[in-house]
């Protein structure tokens, strides 16, 4: 019994030491609700964080044409090298997969969250909540996910079905790529070695003579 008690005492002492190591250092101060509210802009996949407000496809067209089309194209097809936001459905298995809101995004919240925090490019966090909902509704319309009468809000959010919702699975490299954990061959590993491709044939490397310097 006394042995048990002394063992317990040792355990408690260790626990006390651990607590000391993790003790609060009383650095920083409480964040106020107002401070948090100004920065707490994330919208999670399950809709947690969706702001109040609403926006229609119709209103979204105006926002989109004024603030988005110059880069993303009038129909979401992209102007130049900017990301396409519409189209691409059915392309993910092809040689030229096109990843858009309609073809690739698994979660509607991702579009809302991203536009809310980062768009328009160069004028971030400038949209009102109604403009935000409207422009996302319009992108859904461009992707044939909703009809032209649709109004997006916290209430209609859950009813939107994203076409590629089932298109993702968690990292499985440790099992799917298990053969990469095997002792490698050291000698006579191939019968023949031929060059099958050359960068200079493609010739897309920036031309900057100063980038090349010999080994002195």
């Amino acid at each position: 019994m006394s042995k048990c008690l002394s063992a317990l005492a040792v355990l408690l002492a260790l626990a006390g030491a651990a607590t000391a190591a993790e003790r609060k250092l009383d650095i920083g101060r409480a964040a106020t609700p107002a401070e948090i509210a100004g920065w707490d802009i994330d919208v999670r996949a399950d809709g947690q964080g969706l702001p109040p407000g609403k926006g229609s496809v119709k209103d979204g067209e105006e926002v989109y044409m004024g603030k988005c089309a110059a880069c993303h194209g009038e129909f979401g097809e992209s102007a130049g090298r900017w990301p396409m936001v519409a189209g691409g459905q059915g392309s993910l298995k092809s040689d030229d997969p096109v990843k858009t809101v309609g073809s690739y995004f698994a979660h509607l919240a991702t579009v809302i969250d991203y536009v809310r925090r980062a768009m328009p490019f160069g004028d971030a966090q400038s949209l009102t909540n109604d403009e935000l909902y409207a422009v996302v509704a319009y992108m859904l319309y461009l992707n044939d996910i909703v009809d032209e009468k649709f109004v997006l809000s916290k209430e209609t959010f859950a009813g939107v079905k994203m076409p590629n919702a089932a298109g993702f699975y968690d990292d499985d490299r440790e099992t799917a790529e298990r053969p990469f954990w095997a002792a490698p061959c050291m000698t006579n590993c191939k019968a023949d070695v031929k060059i099958t491709g050359r960068a200079r044939v493609i010739d897309v490397t920036p031309d900057d003579k100063s980038a090349r310097k010999g080994v002195d």
Partner: protein, 420 residues
């Protein structure tokens, strides 16, 4: 000198025989120079006084090293604010990347933050929502850690074949520096993580307000909120004044200009972990949350931007790294992967840091197909490009850690190639 590479009873000479053309003259071309500065003459810098102290209050590299810079590939992206510049790996040695040469990846340009106006908010599933100033972050217990940071898209342009001619472009989205910062565990302890918290959202203060979801287990394990790199404060391009350090995991998660940490019970599925940084497979489905960077290596010299200039004794130099731990071994091949020998690991071999390797050889002007292959302490062996494509296809953009081949030609020029 003794053949220090000879660990397997194989001499340097016998290793080379297969690829060498016997009897080639070994000539080292003299570097051009101004005769008035060369012996027996005495150059001006030896006669006259130079700049005094503090003339250069923040020292810069020699003006003769002006070519050692980050470079970008303008056709890759629509704008420079959401783009990437690459580390000039071919000009560097050792394992520490100079702060000003660390590759950049911004999603909305560089946020220029006045340290007096810096705030970090910790909230969500915590006992107490907190806000910290930079001065307060610096009061916490701190640690120093050397880690590599690799963008998940490093080598992403090479999935369909050899494309860019230079390791700066094919592999230059990696750097390795010493960070000083607060263990995230200590910061979170201050707020008191609730048992229901399983994920942490890290958010940047840049104009992309970049966010990533990090599992709480990782956050409590080895992440840091770092404010220094290589001793000095973080560079603006690297997230001044504070960034997340997520050892071994893809660079996108190392949120720069860190302004907010929110604890939650599920991942957020932010744009950078769904639309981007997911790996599209041949099936048309995509892997998500592929956080760990697989073991990888590249020969940095010789390489297309660093051709061989002299025959004779030659040091092949490169870098290896793994997000799963330490590098155990690096193999080098001179014949496109037919035969391999173990390279020498030099200097510090650290957990989830880059490791420098060397392989010494006599180059007689024969053509070489140089490859390197990293093996980490978990036994993971860096795969060949064909093996990797067999599993992943060519559409995944991210996590391309296939073995790189450099073709060294008779004149010493080097090209990025693929081999059978």
């Amino acid at each position: 000198m003794p053949d220090r590479e000879d660990e397997k009873g194989q001499t340097r000479r016998s290793f080379l025989t297969a690829a060498s053309s016997a009897g080639a003259a070994l000539a080292t071309p003299a570097l051009a120079g101004n005769p008035k500065n060369l012996p027996p003459n005495v150059p001006d810098w030896t006669r006259a006084l130079g700049d005094g102290v503090a003339v250069r209050p923040y020292g810069q590299p020699s003006k003769h090293e002006a070519h050692v810079i980050r470079r970008d590939v303008q056709w890759l992206t629509a704008s420079r604010e959401s783009s990437v510049s690459f580390t000039p790996l071919h000009e560097l040695d050792g394992i520490i990347t100079p702060s000003g040469l660390c590759f950049e990846r911004h999603h909305g340009g560089i946020a220029e933050i006045d340290p007096a106006d810096y705030r970090l908010i910790v909230h969500g599933l915590v006992e107490k929502d907190l806000v910290f100033t930079l001065a307060e972050l610096k009061r916490f217990p701190r640690v120093n850690r050397i880690h590599f940071l690799e963008c998940a898209a490093n080598s992403g342009m090479e999935w369909r074949g050899a494309q860019l001619n230079g390791c700066q472009y094919t592999h230059g989205m990696v750097h390795c520096v010493e960070y000083t910062g607060v263990p995230l565990r200590v910061l979170l302890n201050e707020a008191g993580v609730r048992p229901s918290a399983k994920w942490l959202l890290a958010e940047g203060a840049d104009s992309a307000a970049m966010t990533r979801s990090v599992p709480v287990a990782k956050a409590l394990d080895d992440c840091l909120v770092a404010y220094r790199m290589n001793g000095e404060m973080l560079r603006p391009e690297q997230g001044y004044p504070a960034r997340l350090v997520v050892p071994g995991w893809e660079g996108n998660m190392w949120v720069k200009w860190l302004r907010r940490l929110k604890l939650g019970d599920a991942p957020w599925f932010a744009r950078e972990e769904t639309s981007k940084y997911t790996d599209l497979m041949e099936s048309g489905k995509a892997r998500q949350f592929t956080f760990v960077m697989d073991a990888k290596s590249v020969i940095t010299s010789p390489s297309p931007q660093a051709p061989l200039k002299a025959k004779g004794f030659t040091v092949i130099s490169g870098l290896a790294w793994s997000g799963r731990g330490k590098i155990r071994r690096v193999d080098v091949s001179l014949d496109g992967g037919k035969n391999w020998r173990e390279a020498k690991l030099d200097g510090l071999v650290l957990d989830r840091a880059v490791t420098r390797f060397y392989a010494e050889t006599e180059w007689t002007g024969q053509e070489l197909l140089l490859q390197s292959r990293a093996i980490d302490e978990t036994g993971y062996v860096q795969p060949g490009k064909a093996e990797l494509r067999k599993v992943r296809g060519v559409n995944s953009i991210y996590h391309n850690n296939g073995i790189q081949t450099w073709h060294v030609k008779a004149d010493g020029e080097v090209e990025n190639v693929e081999v059978s």
